[in-house]
């Protein structure tokens, strides 16, 4: 075909979906890497089934990735997909049912199903594609399998690279760059495998060049800074090494395990190790025993594992032993939605332990922060002799983002193990009465022999049952959080420091919230947002910051009752988790918009909330004005 029509775009959201096991994820990662190498913004997020081999050709078998590429840096996975590369019509249907496709979506689909032997499949295929056309979308039928079969015997092991070639043409990505990536992806395989994948990708590109008459163009601006691209679990794993951790003790659980996979592969070559324990309880116990002995250790888990680890968290708090616990949150309760995002472990992280067990709780809001937060967590845990919980989530865990390459520093590593003698009788909890802080004694230190116990104890570590000692030890453990609170800054406000509406979030919803704020502000709405990284202790100045807005709302991916639902009144309503905490903390009437959609928020959903709330505020403002005028008149 001759000259191509070029469609200039600022950004596009692409989804690549197939049956589980057909390689859509590998295709997506390969394509995303090519986009990363060519500059501009990038965010990817996985679409993962919970089973390994779900029944093929069903909506439940859909596996793949969403890739958002743009001229400018992006902070979230965006709204509706603009283009879907579907290996079959059921994978496409699952995305339609999820409500994540734009009305004018471009569907690229294998045409083999149009002439399938099974009349039901032919019928489905036709109906689904007719539906796409009816809603204003367009369909590009590609002989994905037929063309692949010209090069390989098993199309399952090749369709994905052909699809990459099609996308490479559509988005004008460099074939040379893709060559390099394919070589790296299959570096452990034979040269023949690499060559075959090249050939498949090139075939896809050539086929498209011949049959398609348009190309999209997104001009990515190459960053001056050195950039990296990785997912949040990899960032956590590398961040842990850069922070000086030496032991990761874990038990397999989705979606946390991939962080341990990364560590298992490389930790030993950095002087560390991963211990896969017999259960979640043992995993945290081993980490606690190791940190007690002076070696920085962490445990990585997800909601159900957090529940099992609570007793040990209490022991760590009670014995003032450092420990870092990473919770990559997923959908709950119980087994819930293992591969999907939710932010439902906040209250559990804050309060989950027998008795009053103060813990530090942090939440990274970007993949970049997943890296750096590990140093913060280790330092705080040691300085404050208290467990630190890092609340990540499935969105950060499996999403990939471009961010500036982290600088490594000796300052981020712990000091050498303290084995200096101490005077006999040195107290293991020599609390500073103002701050609650005390020096930690480590086994091997002559003179420091003492017992660390989960029973109530005095500053000498010995068991005490009396009132005043129990009150004192509680006060000292709690005082440490007050000490940290005073060292924190008020979180900065995104956009303006005052206005009508303030949205408050935590963790990975940040990007979507800020994008929605930008949109609404460009329409004249006085909305701002705040992301809280320190969830315990909360930073200072929140009440003051909230007071400069007419309404404050928490935005979270966890459950709350919705206004207007049957039986839901201001007395019966169960609020979202952060709003509960903020209401108690500030006595401000913090409302919430929270849902459990099993996927990240779309900016457009939050934008809609902003507009709705703004309309309410405007009419309330008008009625206040009317009342005032009425009062004057009277």
């Amino acid at each position: 075909m001759g000259k191509k029509r070029t469609i200039q775009l600022k950004e596009h959201i692409i989804e690549i979906v197939s049956d589980s096991g057909e390689g859509a994820q590998k295709a997506a990662v390969t394509f995303a890497q090519a986009c990363a190498l060519m500059g501009g913004g990038l965010w990817t997020v996985e679409v993962i089934p919970s089973e390994i081999q779900p029944p093929p050709h069903t909506t439940g078998a859909t596996s793949g990735n969403r890739i958002r590429i743009s001229e400018q840096p992006v902070t979230n996975s965006g709204d509706y997909a603009n283009l879907v590369m579907a290996f079959n019509e059921m994978a496409l249907l699952s995305r339609i049912e999820q409500g994540v496709l734009a009305e004018d979506v471009v569907v690229v689909i294998d045409d083999k199903w149009a002439s399938d032997d099974d009349p039901r499949i032919r019928q489905n295929y036709k109906e689904i594609l007719d539906g796409i056309k009816a809603r204003g979308g367009s369909v590009i039928e590609v002989p994905l399998e037929a063309e692949t079969l010209k090069l390989v015997e098993d199309p399952k092991k090749g369709k994905n690279m052909f699809a990459v070639g099609v996308l490479a043409f559509l988005y004008d990505r460099s074939v040379e760059v893709l060559h390099r990536i394919i070589k790296e992806t299959f570096r452990t395989k034979s040269g023949a495998v690499v060559d075959q994948n090249f050939a498949l990708m090139e075939a896809g590109y050539t086929w498209s060049e011949k049959h398609l008459d348009f190309q999209f163009q997104i001009k990515g601006l190459a960053s001056e800074q050195s950039q990296v691209v990785m997912n949040g679990n990899t960032a956590l794993a590398l961040g842990a090494i850069a922070a000086g951790f030496k032991l990761c003790s874990m038990y397999p659980i989705t979606p946390a395990t991939s962080a341990s996979h990364t560590l298992s592969e490389i930790f030993e070559s950095f002087g560390g190790m991963v211990h896969q324990a017999e259960d979640e309880i043992a995993a945290i116990g081993v980490a606690l025993g190791a940190y007690y002995s002076g070696v920085p250790s962490l445990t990585i888990t997800s909601g159900p594992g957090m529940a099992l680890k609570t007793e040990f968290q209490g022991l760590a708090a009670m014995t003032e032993t450092p420990l870092v616990i990473v919770d990559v949150q997923r959908g709950g309760p119980s087994t819930g939605l293992p591969t999907k995002i939710e932010q439902s472990d906040l209250l559990h992280a804050l309060y989950g332990a027998p008795g009053d067990a103060p813990k530090i709780v942090l939440a990274p809001s970007t993949i970049e922060e997943c890296f750096h937060i590990m140093t913060t967590a280790r330092k705080l845990s040691e300085e404050f002799r208290t467990p630190v919980i890092v609340l990540s989530d499935a969105n950060l865990a499996t999403g990939q983002q471009l961010f500036p390459r982290p600088e490594l520093s000796m300052d981020n590593l712990p000091p050498p193990l303290d084995q200096n003698p101490v005077a006999p009788g040195t107290k293991p909890y020599d609390w500073d009465k103002n701050t609650g802080l005390s020096r930690r004694l480590v086994p091997g230190q002559p003179g420091g022999m003492s017992v660390t116990t989960g029973l109530n104890h005095g500053s000498d570590g010995k068991v005490r049952y009396d009132y005043s000692s129990n009150q004192l030890s509680h006060t000292m453990r709690s005082r440490k959080l007050a000490t940290l609170h005073h060292a924190l800054k008020t979180p900065s406000i995104y956009a303006e420091d005052e206005g009508d509406l303030l949205l408050v979030g935590w963790g990975s919803t940040r990007g979507a919230i800020e994008e929605a704020v930008d949109r609404a502000r460009s329409e004249g709405v006085r909305v701002s947002s705040m992301n809280i990284q320190f969830l315990n202790p909360l930073p200072p100045g929140l009440k003051d910051a909230f007071s400069r807005f007419r309404k404050v709302m928490a935005i979270e991916l966890n459950y709350s009752d919705q206004w207007g639902d049957p039986l839901i009144t201001s007395e019966s309503r169960r609020y979202s988790q952060l709003s509960m905490v903020l209401r108690a903390h500030t006595l401000v009437d913090v409302d919430c918009f929270s849902q459990v959609p099993a996927r990240p928020f779309m900016p457009t959903e939050i934008h809609e909330v902003i507009l709705k709330e703004n309309a309410k505020l405007v009419s309330a403002g008008a009625s206040v004005k009317q009342e005032k005028q009425h009062a004057k008149a009277v």
Binding site: G39, G271, I281, L288, A290, V295, T452
Partner: protein
């Protein structure tokens, strides 16, 4: 003038006074009068004194129960943890700091019931721990409830009409774990045998599991007190636990090779006349910390950061290859 090495310097010039039992003693134990725990504590203190182990290099880890108070009475480092979880804590200490001596103290409920998962798996890891279970066949601290080793028909507060099931035999469970490297049994009413057993266990490199049969003087005073009930079968072997033959009838001695796993299984089934001595021993099983540290590359911080920096290249976007 010749130079002294550090040991010579210490002995010749510092006139170090040998450590005595008092150097390993902390608070006065608060166990009941007549409880076997007192004897176990003394035996462990004696062991440390005999070997002149620097107390700062010892970590005593325990769970919850009467016996788990033991670390409070030792002047070493101690970690009195939570119910059933002494073994994960101990493994953490040993994995982090293989040079420390770790003694794990548990009761029968602690180890065989709430901590049973850790018990089986830690045997398999085989870290170099001295693990001592003080088995009095009852939950005592919580005031007399049935434990897994309580005998059938035993009347306790949770089994007021007699316990329902046959008691668990921990010995057969232990021998069923691949990688088990040391199993011994002794009783508190043969103090010398108990001391020798603990010494034999202390000298083994790997997880030395010692079950000590005891009688709770408050809740189970009748245990092992009827006619013939205190009789045990002494296992005899050159690699085993030595004992004073003058105190034991010939009929209560049997030859047993602790290196023979099949013989060990047979011995472990002798429930009516409990075997005492070394039941199983395999000094060749590698310890978990050896295996793991053998695979982990030790390096200084500069080297580590250089390597990590090089590894980050894998994730770095380069526009000009």
């Amino acid at each position: 003038m010749s130079l002294l090495n550090i040991d010579e310097f210490v002995t010749e010039d510092c006139e170090v006074v040998p450590r005595t039992l008092e150097d390993y003693a902390s608070d006065t134990p608060r166990w009941c009068k007549g409880c076997g725990d007192h004897g176990v504590l003394m035996a462990i203190q004696g062991l440390l004194r005999d070997d002149q182990v620097p107390p700062e290099n010892v970590v005593a880890v325990s769970g919850i129960g009467c016996s788990s108070r033991l670390p409070h009475y030792l002047r070493t480092y101690g970690f009195h943890g939570i119910h059933g979880r002494a073994l994960p804590l101990s493994l953490g200490v040993k994995l982090a700091r293989p040079e420390l001596n770790v003694i794990t103290i548990m009761g029968d409920g602690d180890c065989f019931s709430i901590g049973a998962g850790h018990w089986v798996h830690t045997l398999r890891y085989n870290p170099d721990l001295l693990v001592v279970v003080l088995d009095n066949e009852v939950y005592a601290l919580t005031k007399k409830q049935a434990s897994p080793t309580s005998r059938m028909g035993e009347v306790t507060n949770t089994t007021p009409h007699g316990s329902y099931l046959r008691s668990m035999n921990p010995l057969t469970v232990i021998l069923g774990v691949n990688n088990v490297s040391f199993l011994a049994q002794t009783t508190t009413w043969f103090p010398q045998h108990m001391e020798e057993t603990l010494r034999r266990a202390w000298n083994h490199r790997g997880l030395s599991f010692v079950r000590i049969l005891q009688r709770c003087p408050v809740y189970m005073p009748h245990m092992f007190s009827g006619p013939g009930q205190m009789v045990s079968m002494f296992l005899e072997h050159q690699d085993g636990v030595p004992f004073d033959h003058s105190l034991v009838r010939k009929a209560n001695i049997m030859a047993h090779n602790p290196r023979d796993i099949s013989a060990a299984h047979t011995v472990s089934l002798m429930e009516d006349v409990p075997p005492v001595g070394l039941i199983y021993w395999n000094p060749e099983v590698p310890t978990y910390e050896e295996v793991r540290h053998g695979r982990s590359t030790a390096m200084d911080n500069t080297e580590m950061l250089n390597r990590l920096n090089a590894h980050m290249d894998k994730y770095t976007v380069r526009l000009n290859p």
